[in-house]
């Protein structure tokens, strides 16, 4: 850490405004919605980064919070944007933050993600040293901020996918990523029209960056800690929304080539052979005398265990055998939710087409009024 960034805030607080500070290299944009529980830790971690204070600014875009997130943001941020009304989603909020800055590199950090001191400087270094890379993102750390079982399970599942594919996947992962401003603008910024919730907007942006010939890197060397506490319901909801949105809006096969490390692919790839194997066994059972009920259960469990073996081995190696054993039924349930949601997404895509905002938003966009906060923009 440089001596300068160790100084108390008052000594190093020549606040970074793009119009004033010419040395501004990085703009860290944090979108927050009712994030008072985690925002303080997140912003303090950003401010502790090993980057000279004059060379970066922190912009917090508050997405219609009602829990005092704005006051917390004010304690650490250089600029706070207050969006009013209903929640517009991180894609919309981050775009509003980008519009305020002229920094050549933009970093997007979720309001529940704690960066390490070296995360942001290392991202800057990668972008400086590798002109072929235009966007770099960090992967999940081994442990999540919340210590409950479901949070640990979910965090490790995301990490498993990232670790398995970091060498092959050029994905702009959620949580924490940096992108050259020029590339971000050229790609069309975040898709705020279709992604009104915090779901897959980074993956979709990564795809467009790649489509415009930009280099995207998901770094296994960089990791960040996610603080969000997950419970059964929130995990099922997340899997449901991601899978359905992916199938309906983006197209499973197209995205699987770009973002194989996303949790939907991690889940569905294991599910597909499991279903195939189970169907084969059931077919074979038709030609033999009916086995005992426990044999049927045993065969089904064996199939599930074998098809998810890489995941279970990963859990066992990182958290021990007991954790892997406990996570197995949860993982099966999560896979079933993902499978059903994918099917529903495909049906919805065929019947209704791509996702789009509600009729009111579409009406406002069509009329073309310029107002604040702006109507979500179409790519």
């Amino acid at each position: 850490m440089s001596a300068k960034s160790r100084e108390p805030e008052s000594l190093r607080s020549r606040e970074g405004h793009p119009l004033i500070v010419e040395s501004l290299q990085l703009s860290v944009i944090v979108s927050a919605h009712n994030s008072s529980a985690t925002l303080s830790e997140v912003l303090a971690a950003i401010r502790s980064s090993d980057v000279p204070r004059d060379s970066y600014e922190v912009i917090v875009v508050d997405d219609a919070s009602t829990d005092g997130s704005v006051a917390i943001a004010a304690r650490y941020a250089d600029t706070v944007v207050k969006l009013t009304g209903r929640q517009s989603g991180p894609a919309y909020a981050r775009n509003r933050g980008v519009e305020l800055t002229g920094a050549p590199v933009l970093a997007f950090v979720d309001a529940d993600v704690v960066v390490r001191r070296e995360t942001l400087p290392r991202m800057l270094q990668i972008l400086n040293e590798r002109p072929d890379i235009d966007a770099v993102s960090a992967s999940h750390a081994d442990t999540s901020g919340a210590q409950n079982f479901v949070s640990q399970y979910w965090n490790l599942l995301l990490r498993f996918g990232e670790q398995r594919h970091t060498s092959t996947s050029a994905q702009f992962a959620p949580g924490c990523g940096a992108v050259r401003r020029q590339a971000f603008i050229a790609a069309g910024m975040y898709d705020e029209w279709r992604f009104a919730t915090a779901c897959l907007e980074n993956v979709e942006l990564g795809e467009r960056l790649l489509g415009t010939g930009r280099g995207v890197l998901l770094s296994s060397e960089l990791s960040v800690t996610h603080l969000k506490r997950w419970d059964l319901l929130s995990v099922f909801r997340e899997v449901w929304v991601r899978s359905r949105l992916l199938a309906r809006s983006l197209g499973y096969s197209r995205m699987s080539a770009v973002a194989p490390s996303d949790v939907v692919f991690t889940l569905s790839r294991a599910l597909t052979p499991a279903v195939a194997l189970l169907a084969t066994l059931m077919l074979a059972a038709a030609f033999v005398p009916a086995p005992h009920a426990s044999a049927k259960v045993g065969a089904a469990l064996l199939v599930l265990l074998l098809t998810n073996l890489p995941v279970h081995r990963f859990y066992a190696s990182t958290r021990g055998f007991a954790f892997a054993l406990l996570s197995a039924p949860l993982h099966t349930l999560v896979e079933i939710v993902a499978g059903v949601a994918l099917c529903l997404g495909w049906i919805l895509r065929d019947v209704f087409g791509d996702v789009s905002p509600d009729a009111t938003t579409q009406a406002y966009a069509e009329v073309g009024h310029e107002i604040w906060p702006p109507v979500p923009r179409k790519l």
Partner: protein, 143 residues
């Protein structure tokens, strides 16, 4: 979406963001539906209705024994161009910068906090008073 559908959606709107004037409201205001902007006048706090541009605030934070150059503040204001900007000065203890700032900034809002109040607390205090949609925070330098 047809023009009729657009107007139905606008009139039936129960949607709070973005806050827009209903069709009949801007007909009475003399702004035609072909006009690009609904309202050109930035609203003051407490006045409802749509705005074309965000309202901006600048918070100047001066913990104890800190000063700020009035020229720096003036520069920030000039950088905003035609935008109207509220300026709030939050300071702790005694500050020598107030008089000079008041000469530079018309309608300067001043918040005084007890000596020893931290920079973070001053920022939070001022933010609660800042009416802007976009709030920039500027901290002074130690004497």
């Amino acid at each position: 979406m047809s023009r009729a559908e657009v107007e139905v959606a606008l009139v039936e709107d129960t949607y709070s963001t973005p806050t827009l004037m209903a069709v009949d409201a801007f007909q009475h205001s003399g702004v035609s539906s072909n006009d690009r902007f609904v309202s050109l006048t930035p609203n003051r706090q407490g006045q409802g209705g749509p705005r074309r541009t965000p309202r901006k605030s600048l918070i100047v934070v001066l913990p104890e024994n800190h000063v700020v150059s009035p020229d720096l503040v003036a520069g920030r204001l000039r950088a905003q161009g035609d935008y109207e900007m509220d300026v709030i000065l939050a300071y702790a203890g005694q500050s020598t910068s107030i008089a000079a700032l008041q000469r530079q900034v018309r309608d300067l809002q001043v918040l005084e906090a007890p000596a020893g109040t931290s920079s973070e607390d001053l920022r939070e205090l001022a933010m609660r008073q800042a009416p802007g949609d976009i709030v920039t925070l500027l901290c002074g330098t130690p004497v």
